[in-house]
Every structure is written in structure tokens, then in C-alpha cells.
Amino acid sequence: MRFQNIPTPAEVLAEAVDLFGTAGFYVHILASLERIWLGFAIAGALGIGLGLLIGWFRFAEDTLLPPIELLRPIPAVAWVPLSIMLWPTERSSIVFITALGAFFPIVLNTIHGVEGIDRQLVRAATSLGAGRAAIFREVVIPGALPSIVTGLSVGMGVSWLCLISAEMISGQFGVGYFTWVAYGIVKYSQIVVGMLVIGVLGMVSSVLIRAIGARCMPWLPRRVKDGA
């Protein structure tokens, strides 16, 4: 192993101070944040929406689930070449990859959450006068919420993975691109700073998801929230 090229903590710190003093580094960070936000928002909207439909309506399960199961085993990174051909801009193709990666855990956890709803609660709602729309709104959505938040949490992790991979393969901005370029120009301390930035951003976004989830589900005991 070639540890002699690994930068010391002091070198990394000095590099980080340098980088955060330049405007260029923030461009990379903002580019990544914009892509992750867009991709994750699209994945969340589609994943939760389709997951609720597939979990609750038989016809949606029969028509929508088979294609999802077919596409799911394909790693998001394998979509990169097709995505570059498919989308007009680099930004849109990377957002697509990011959304694709996050979509599957979100949709599958949402389906799982809906299917796990206690049927007795549905009966209770009908015998209290709830119609079909009210059952969907008052029972199905809140009942699936803990699983949805789990899906979002997992999806957020996957979307970072996909974003960084996509940025390393294609693109001119982003923390992943920055880290890959640093390797190309033999700037070892920049590689480590890039990795640490990815780690911190990923962690902050997970914490954010969990905090929002806990706010939305005040009925869950604290212990369960922390484990989500």
C-alpha cells in the first residue's frame, strides 16, 4: 500500500481553509446541492404518489408495479450513458440519475407502509362515517407515513451516491466532479477535502429528513424516531 501519498490532517486542513476562501469551490457545492434538491424532490413526489396508489389500489399495483420491479435491479450508474443521450443538458441528466436512485427506496417503502395499515382502522373509519376519499386522507396517508419517512431517509442516501457517481463520470461542476479532477491533477489533499465535504453534506441532509419526519409524526415515541 502506498500511504506515502496520503496527505496529513494538517495538509487537509490547510487545503480546506484555502478552498473555502475561493468562490470557485462554492460553485461546486451549490451545483451539487441544487441537483440533489431537484432530484430528491422529483423522486419524493413520484415515489410517494405512485407508492400510495400502488399500495392502495389493486389496478395500480397490477399495472405499475411490474415495470418498477423490472427497472429496479438496474443500478442508477448504469443509466449514465443513456441519460446523457436522453437529456438535453448535463444538469438535467445528472438530476435524472439522482432522482432515479432515490425513487426506488421511496416508492417501495411507501407501498410497504400502505400495505401494513391495520385493516381494522379502515373498518373503524367506515363505521364512523368516512367515505373513500376520507379513508385515503385520514387513514392511508398517515398510516403509511412512518414507512414513507424511512423511504425518504434511505432514498436521500442513495441519491447522494448516485449524484457523486454521475458527477464523476460526466459534468463540469459539483463536488463529485471536483474530487475526480483533483485525482486527475494529483492534488491529494483536495481529494480528501472533497470526500469530507460529501460526507458532511450527506449527513446534514439525513439529519434534516429525520427532523422533518419527527415533526410530522408527533405520535411516535422518541425512541422510534431516533431509530428511523
Binding site: 373503524a124 364512523l128 368516512a130 409524526m217
Partner: protein
């Protein structure tokens, strides 16, 4: 809050069968019963005798294979708030507070927030849960959860309250307290009650009439009128009158249970 004009339930020649693994199981056979408005009827029988199925037919959760269920002149088509159900598991919405659970039926009817909150408060006070409005169900004991379940059902002013072994999961002390509470509440909010249980003491203590059912398929074996004076307190179960009724019902239930669990001969 007394209203004796509604709650007449006519169950006529009700039979219910359903398929289990391709086999046809007859749960209820030729069950006929009419309640008067405001009456408290207990359905008593061994487990699996179809008493819950009768309840589900009145609630509209299952369709009769034969016969009819008519509530205040209207044939039962499906579930509705006029036939409120209290389940063995309280089945409260975990994501709603106690107040949110009790308000649910009123919200479904489109009643204004301020009005439904004040009504929900009244029913919570009736079941002794004032001060717990903002608690979530998971924070309550089993008995308290079931009291929320009763308030949640009664706030809709149903024609009939259907109760499916609601105290079956509670410990003996809590169960007794809940039975007394139920009678107190029922005196205030007079509604027809159909109460399913396999507990003879519970049936006789609560009901005006006890319908003893046979083992599956459930048919009516006997209808016992309980003339014990009301209001009833727990001490009534030690009286000679109660004992005599209990002996009569006990012999029948024992015979029916023996048919479910053959093998032991006496």
C-alpha cells in the same frame, strides 16, 4: 340526552356463510332477533360461534347469505355512522390525539371545528377522560383507550352501538370498572346496544336480554330476559336472582362449548 325513538333493529332469518380455502363455512344460521329502541342486548356463546359475524352483518361489514337486517326501517347496505362499532382492540387512530379521535365522526359529517370540539369534550367528560384531550392513544392504558373508543362512537349519536368483546383484553379489575362505566354512560346516552361476549357474568350484569347462541353454525339457543333492577352495581352478581340466571345460562354455554371441544366426557 334520552331518545327512545330510534334504534329498532330487526334481524330476520339471517344466515351467513363464507368460503375458506374452497370450503363453505356456515357461520350463522337462521338468526332472528328484534330489539326495541334503547335496549341492551348481549350475544353470548362459545368462541367461533358466529356472534361477531352477526354484529358485522348489522355493521354492514359482511353481507348476509340469506335473510335481512333492517335498522329503523332501512335495510343495511354497508357500513355507516348510524351503526357505531366498538372493537375488541380499541382501534383508535394512533396519529390522532384523543380529541382528534373523538371528533373524527363529526369531522366526517362536515361539522364546524368549534362545534365538534365542544361536543367531543362533552363525551370525553362522560367517559371520565377530561384532561386527556391532547394525549395520543399510545400514551393511554387499555381501559382508557377503550373509553375513547366508546366516546368516539357515541358522539355520532348512533341508532345502535355494536360492541365486539370490548373489555375482553382488559384485566379483571379494569373490566369490572368498565362495565359499570358503560352502564352509567348508557343511562345518559340511551342508545340500543348489541354487546358480544363469551363472559356469562358480563352478559347478565349488563344486558336487558341475553341471547345464548349455539356452537357453529350459530343459531339462537335461548333468550334470557334479565329483570335485575337498574341502576346495577357490581354487588348484584352475588344475589340469588343473578345466581339462578347464571346457573341456567351456564348449563347451556357448557353444553355448547363441549360441542366445540369434544373429547372430554362427563
Amino acid at each position: 340526552m334520552t331518545d327512545d325513538s330510534t334504534g329498532r333493529i330487526e334481524i330476520d332469518d339471517l344466515s351467513i356463510a363464507y368460503g375458506v380455502n374452497g370450503r363453505r363455512v356456515e357461520a350463522v344460521r337462521r338468526f332472528t332477533l328484534t330489539t326495541t329502541p334503547g335496549e341492551f342486548v348481549a350475544l353470548l356463546g362459545p368462541s367461533g360461534c358466529g356472534k361477531t359475524t352477526v354484529l358485522n352483518a348489522v355493521a354492514g361489514f359482511v353481507q348476509p347469505s340469506n335473510g335481512t337486517v333492517v335498522v329503523d326501517g332501512e335495510p343495511v347496505q354497508g357500513p355507516g355512522a348510524d351503526r357505531g362499532m366498538v372493537f375488541q382492540q380499541p382501534s383508535l387512530f394512533p396519529w390522532k390525539t384523543v380529541l382528534g379521535n373523538v371528533e373524527f365522526g363529526l369531522k366526517m359529517r362536515g361539522i364546524k371545528k368549534t362545534l365538534r370540539t365542544s361536543r367531543a369534550h362533552a363525551y370525553l367528560s362522560l367517559v371520565g377522560l377530561t384532561g386527556f384531550e391532547d394525549a395520543y392513544p399510545a400514551e393511554l392504558s387499555g381501559g382508557m383507550q377503550q373509553r375513547v373508543g366508546i366516546a368516539r362512537t357515541l358522539v355520532n349519536r348512533p341508532r345502535v352501538m355494536l360492541m365486539d368483546e370490548p373489555f375482553g383484553a382488559l384485566d379483571a379489575q379494569t373490566r369490572l370498572a368498565m362495565q359499570e362505566l358503560l352502564l352509567d354512560v348508557w343511562r345518559e346516552v340511551r342508545t340500543t346496544v348489541i354487546f358480544v361476549t363469551h363472559d356469562i357474568d358480563e352478559a347478565l350484569f349488563l344486558a336487558d336480554r341475553v341471547v345464548v347462541m349455539t356452537a357453529r353454525p350459530g343459531e339462537i339457543r335461548d333468550v334470557v330476559t334479565v329483570k335485575l333492577a337498574r341502576p346495577r352495581a357490581a354487588e348484584v352478581i352475588a344475589t340469588a336472582e343473578f345466581m339462578a340466571l347464571k346457573a341456567r345460562v351456564f348449563a347451556q354455554v357448557r353444553e355448547e362449548s363441549a360441542r366445540v371441544l369434544p373429547g372430554r366426557r362427563r
